[in-house]
Symmetry: D2
Subunit: 336 residues, 4 copies
């Protein structure tokens, strides 16, 4: 079978490295380009010795006009992807964007959360939100897939069954997330130094983290009504992993919420509904999203806890899952 030629644009960040790790094992993909502004000209395995013996390639300058690929993964900072995608799409290349640039359907919501005009609003309608468990069919035929971030993935997958089945109300939703430090990307800033993060736990971006926009968009779509959510991210001393704890108000008696969640995700390879509460270590370096639920009869709430690896199901793994859909491969190829 002819392999899909894929380029990784922004291959030196953490999502980019995770893409490399996954794609070198993917039986139907050949990586044709690794771009990195910072490391152009250097061997991938020299910059990241973990790939020694596995990747024999050199980083090149990111340049859309020189991309020769069937599909391109954009692991670029916010704002840069929006400039990179249009020329690729024009050439008929499939784009899997890991940034936040094409996740919002509404240019005005984009402006509210990102505080500037969207640079390519005409593409917002065309892009598909790359959460396969929710938008599988649209992803199959998409040209531009906007892969969701780590917080949205863990929260949307946690809320979907309860909200879609009417088990819970759509108002008063609160989500608390705990994220490992790789979630911040490979950003060289003093707040992300080892000594500042180790033995540290802190909330940040309260009350309006940028990812809240896409969370509300997707949850509103599931609910069929406009939903406003309270969301508080926390930074904790893990390399990888996110736990989200979500508080929902029961709309009716929850007979067996766990069975209902199991039923909702029946047939899904990457969502595991578990009786025990999820732990980031159980999903580390995997594409699984573990979910469990508890009913609190004292407050009439449903408490949902989900865990993912922010770099895999929360970024690169999800993008590969989307690529598999776009290319017509088995969805789990290269991911188990």
């Amino acid at each position: 079978m002819k392999k899909t030629k894929a380029a990784i644009v922004g291959a030196s960040g953490y999502s980019g490295q995770e893409l490399i790790r996954l794609l070198v094992r993917h039986p139907h993909v050949e990586i044709t380009q690794f771009t990195s502004r910072q490391y152009a000209g250097k061997a991938v395995a020299e910059v990241f010795p973990r790939f020694r013996g596995q990747v024999d390639a050199t980083f090149t300058e990111p340049d859309a006009s020189r991309i020769d690929a069937d599909a391109v993964f954009l692991a670029l900072p916010h704002g840069v992807a929006a400039e990179f995608a249009p020329p690729l799409l024009q050439k008929g290349i499939k784009v899997l964007d890991l940034s936040a640039d094409f996740r919002l359907k509404s240019a005005s919501v984009y402006k509210e959360f990102y505080e500037h005009e969207h640079p390519a609003p005409h593409l917002l309608k065309q892009s598909v939100y790359g959460l396969p468990e929710i938008h599988r069919e649209q992803i199959r035929s998409a040209k531009l897939v906007a892969c969701p971030g780590c917080y949205p993935t863990s929260i949307i997958l946690g809320i979907a069954p309860a909200l879609k089945t009417g088990l819970v109300k759509s108002d008063g939703i609160i989500a608390t997330s705990l994220s490992g430090v790789s979630g911040a990307g490979r950003k060289v800033a003093d707040e992300f130094l080892f000594t500042e993060c180790n033995e540290s736990a802190r909330a940040y971006s309260v009350p309006k983290h940028r990812h809240l926009g896409e969370i509300e968009q997707e949850v509103s779509s599931l609910a069929g009504t406009n939903v406003i959510i309270t969301f508080t991210p926390h930074l904790i001393p893990l390399n990888r992993g996110i736990v989200s704890t979500i508080y929902l108000s029961l709309a009716k008696k929850a007979e067996d919420a766990l069975a209902m969640y199991r039923d909702f995700y029946k047939g899904e390879t990457f969502v595991r509904v578990t009786p025990s509460l999820p732990d980031t270590k159980n999903v580390e370096a995997t594409n699984f999203c573990d979910i469990s639920v508890r009913v609190d009869p004292r407050t009439n709430r449903l408490i949902v806890v989900s865990a993912i690896d922010n770099l895999t199901k929360g970024a690169a793994g999800q993008a590969v899952q989307c690529l598999n859909l776009v290319c017509g491969y088995d969805e789990a190829t290269g991911l188990l």
Copy 2:
């Protein structure tokens, strides 16, 4: 000045060790006994080399009849303290209990949360909840101080100003807490092994952690009405520290919530109301509770974030603060 003779019963757990660390520096306290069932007969500095050169004493068997002290710190497991306290109180010794045994006023609430009858219900009325910022005057004259645990301290101090001033409603309160592993005590169980906790984040005891009883008791008292709370603790890979993020519904317009919090805690040495969001590393090995607040106008909520060191303000430091009140010393003695 004659020193207060203090005994530490259960000196080999983490709270016990933190009591040793604090009391060896306390100018008005002399530690007369260090008990430990496990290490009786061994030198304290041999078992815990960190105290070498600072503590020249030997662990003894815990035996209430042999305690010779003005005040006794009970750093014992739940249930054991309730048996240890009565004979000490009868001898006129002041008791500072770090366990949960005497924190609840109601024997039936105790039974609800701990699932057995309280062994000494007659003492529940006598005991004072040892949170100085809320019960200072009662602590001064108490014979039995039930020092609150780490989760309750961080949550009650976080809620008190908003609830007491009527800024927020008393219903719908949700608290999420993140705790370092020392919060579990020095319990030798596989779930607390390094390899099981490092690179791990997980919720537990959902929806009804034992400490919820005392949180609701104190918050109800502040509100003047019965309050039911949703509380989710999480275990994260820190040695020490708790962050609690609390969601409250605004009852009125919050003009300047931070200033109101500052005003509420004016004069308090150990509560620091800060514009920046708290971080456990800023309170590590201190008796401070850092608190900040944010208003979310989109959901009309007040979000309170507090941080303490679970072994200091959440256990041993608080007990020493209470001792200072009981003995008439400056409240901060030995704690700055």
Copy 3:
């Protein structure tokens, strides 16, 4: 192709879990039994939720008479493997032992280091030391493979090129190793609690760690003379990984030690000789051993630094590599 039926005896320890992780992906292996005294009767995926969706099996009691397999991995504590192996070997089952029981050729050296008589000395001659880079051909035809431990693997592979080519002297060798906590196994003891290991670094078993015996045996064999080594292991707060720094006295001028090392390991899939100094994070969850060297002209020493993942190349990965040799598969099958 007919799959090799493999049983994992002692599947609930860390090496056992790593064997599961690797073997479920191995294209030519079918795991027929997972034994665990502690968890017999429980589902593997229930005890270890990370295997949910991947392993649909139940732990059974370890019982040699009931093993139905072509090959058995023994991931048992020291001393237990020696009793388990003989009946399996008699049934013609290939045994891959991850314990230290069959690594030493000499029963008297065994007694010196383990302080009791060897329980099955007749098997010591038959067993092959399972380090493929050194004993590949013997492993291919072995019935009993004694897979080396994590410290020996990192040290022997680090020393071999220099010693075998006569670049360094065989006396005065010193090895310092730093190990992650999983190296201690899943042993529930207070010294391995998170709170005791995090923010802790310490040497232990100085001067005579049990693994020194096998290190000296193999290094002596490489040198062709009896070699005595100084070895100091340290415990550091990592989950996985070992770094060994080895000091060797140059016997002659080192023209290009790195090139010589590269040449020695030419064609080896799992040894990567790198110009930059190894880092445990680059070999995490891989079967690679990274090695680099530096010449110190001021002291006329060669300093070798090697890094492996103690659970992969230092335990389960190495055992799978040996299985591949024993079964005639490509040596890297299931390991890249």
Copy 4:
């Protein structure tokens, strides 16, 4: 008693912060200035919220001409201190330098290790190496104290007793050190990001770390002969702490090496000779240096293991200990 006025120049690095932590508790010191180029004009407690409620001061620009103090702590990068010290010394201000600038007696050794000419060679003779356990009397009368770094402190204190008493030979000394990440200072570089240091262990600066020069200078002085040492530092995922393991060749029979070490450090407050092997956690945030020894009869070596907190006994604590000597205070003032 009139307090000593002290300025901290470079107060925003990790050594600077540790100086603040220690000096705010020092009964005889008043901090008159906190300089920081980066944060000049900002409140100390705003930049470092851990000092909230304890420090009510503002960072100022470092400017030697505006320093008004009896003593100045220089916590500056290498090379900058050498320019800052001369004008202060001319004004008669005592200088406690935490950098490496004045530690070497020889300008040519300085050039060998730092690869440029020393900017103020005339001061090298005047400066005193600030290791009180070795140079106590000279420090008392010093005007310029060059406080040793963290690696040298742990290694020199570990070697001194054995070498000075002739128990070991002066040749063939090897020292391996493991350091927490704060040892690198608050340097914003990608190699020190949390995600690059957590789950990472690596050797670096092999074979010629800059601190080797001062180690050899001091060890040579103890031995009375020129000593060349092999030294390998490693970076491990701790915030604070160094363990050094030192290999020495016995010159004679070691009857009771531990007793001999105890005797050597008799009366020293901050050196604890312990039967158990040192652990960084036992010295965390203290000025202690824990040392233990083992004899290896198989190789005729003495193995010394020492542990310090790199920011306290390895930097700020040692500097305060020196200040106490310079000012005639009890040496342990403010440090227990």
